[in-house]
Amino acid sequence: MSKTAIAWAVGLAAALLLLAGPAVYGDKPYIMHLFITAFFYAILASSWSLLAGYGGQFSFGHMAFMAIGGYTSGLIGKFIRFTTAPSQLCNDFKLPGSEWWLVVLKPREVGTIQDTCLDLAKQSTLPAGTFIVTPPIWASILMGVIMGAVFGLLIGALVLRLRSTYLALFTIGFSEILRAAISAEIPITEGQSGLELLPLFPKGVSFFGQQFSSTSKIPPYYVMLLLLIFAILLMTWLAGSRFGLFVRALREDEEAAAALGVNTVRYKVLIFVITSTLAAAAGAVQAHYIGIITPNILIILQMSLVIAMAVIGGLENIYAAAIGAIIIQFMLELLRTSFTVGPVTVDMTVWRLVFFGALLMVTLRFQRNGLLAPLIQRFMRGDVAKEVVAIRERQAEEDLAYAAADAAARAGGPINPAGETPGEGAP
């Protein structure tokens, strides 16, 4: 069995275990919540590792794309309706070739709990029997994903010529602008109060003959897990394709890659689009799962958490980053338990962050490839390392023999052991 086959088998076993997990802990909402959040961060950390680790694009705007996904989905749920008659009080757009109207609700004034324009229309302008339909959750999530891709394209194009520090500063700026704009546009986004979203399955859902309510954690668990599995499979395929080859070449040396025929612009933009899309998908699902999204998700601390997860797991390995995210999410929860040593009570709700920060610093100082990636690397490439050591030793011996023969030839001595006169033919 090849090492690649073993790796796939391990991945498949892990996926099956997680898929079967709710049979064990499905009745423990807290554990389920931890898993869902861990999967969410695993998508973010692994997609960021594709962007930064594979592509060398150290963006601090990843959470912004996540927020774009969440807010887009939420805003569609809040403002978009389909009706069979024009409301006349909201912004109405006739859908060509159908009897339906797209109605965009008007933002309410700050501090009021007045009816929406559609509520008012129902009481006045809308004929009786008019159908009013809210876009399905999956459609609004899809729009969130598309919006993430569009912004990924935009930012990717804008940062084409930016590298390292400048890229980081630009993306921090983008993230902060988005946070400020969301906070300021209270009539639309509800500002710091947060935008409420419908649950992933507002009317509940049934599968395998079992009915789950809208508040059950089992459906979101599977949605997020399947999204994570999809993201990992997609990124695995991409990493092994020409895309993976080229973005890594870009990371190493953009100019050299271009001189060898790589369309650097296309792949730099593409990696932003792909990773932003994944972040937006995770954000949209998570926002519907939690039921509310606030601009605080965009604070630098949140982005730092994702980066720390990827770095501690292993930046240049999407699997290590994903596993790192899951482990750290659980560790952060486990470390909440405060304890007393003699007269001193250690409040771990505060100190756990210190522990976590220290772990990050130690990793960066002593294990820059992360804590998990080297283990995976060792398993996958252990034989290459042994082979290379053997080659090095053999080459050193050959070089010594060559140098001795060269010296002998210059002194008019015999030809070298390989039977060639130095200076002629291939070594």
Binding site: L245, V265, A426
Partner: protein, 252 residues
């Protein structure tokens, strides 16, 4: 038939005139040396040919196609490959992956498997086949230089520009690079070699271009160029003194 036409290429950076109407042609698989004192404009000319920078005026045609308006990847795909003065291997990629990059970039619908055998042939030619799975960062400086040459073989351009291929290399490695140039040239590829190693460049090249402060002051047979008073002046500052390459050809 390989044909590179460089027509009246000028380049200025602000007030600094780096190239002043450089014109020359490459016809067929020529083996050309490009020399000149520091600051002569060799690297700028290379960067213009490669598409990294655009000329202030003038045109460059490769096999009838204008390439000075193309981005670097377009120039590479059109048939012009280059190495850099400082070796630029993709250090955190394996040797095999380094070789696959140009092949995959040029053949946009190909799969990696299609080129693995060719990559192995290239590695055998460079006596590096045992290092195929090693990361480029683990190679010696000389091996990284060979890897750069291998990548060009995978790109399979018509014209290869080598920027200082002999700088700081082991004599044994020099043999391989020398063999690389002569054998690949014999297979029908044109070379433009920039080097400060006068012994080697005079021995190796069949035609010599000399740049001095952006002017192409000589273009012809190395033996003739060697005696050109302007070239002597450019290198030594004085026409009468012996040039620094005196004694070149003693290896022959």
């Amino acid at each position: 038939m390989i044909e590179l036409r460089v027509n009246d290429v000028w380049k200025n950076f602000g007030g600094l005139q780096v190239l002043k109407g450089v014109t020359f042609q490459v016809n067929g698989p020529e083996l050309i040396g490009l020399i000149g004192p520091n600051g002569a404009g060799k690297t700028t000319l290379t960067n213009i040919l490669d598409g990294v920078i655009k000329p202030s005026s003038g045109t460059v045609y490769l096999n009838g196609r204008r390439i000075d308006t193309l981005p670097p990847y377009g120039v590479a795909r059109a048939g012009l490959g280059r190495t850099f003065q400082v070796t630029r291997a993709f250090r955190r990629m394996t040797v095999m992956e380094n070789l696959l990059v140009p092949a995959m970039a040029k053949h946009t619908t190909a799969r990696q498997k299609d080129f693995e055998e060719k990559a192995m042939e290239v590695l055998r030619f460079l006596t590096m086949e045992h290092l195929r799975n090693e990361y480029a960062r683990a190679l010696s400086g000389g091996q990284q230089k060979l890897l750069e040459l291998g990548r060009l073989l995978m790109l399979d351009p018509d014209i290869i520009i080598l920027d200082e291929p002999f700088a700081g290399v082991h004599p044994r490695l020099m043999e391989i690079i020398y063999r690389y140039i002569t054998e690949i040239n014999a297979q029908g590829k044109a070379f433009i070699i920039i080097s400060h190693d006068m012994d080697t460049i005079f021995t190796l090249s069949k035609r010599l271009l000399v740049l001095d402060y952006g002017d192409l002051i000589a273009d012809g047979d190395p033996a003739v160029v060697r005696e050109d008073p302007r070239v002597k002046q450019a290198y030594l500052g004085e026409e009468e003194e012996e040039p620094e390459w005196e004694g070149v050809g003693s290896k022959e």
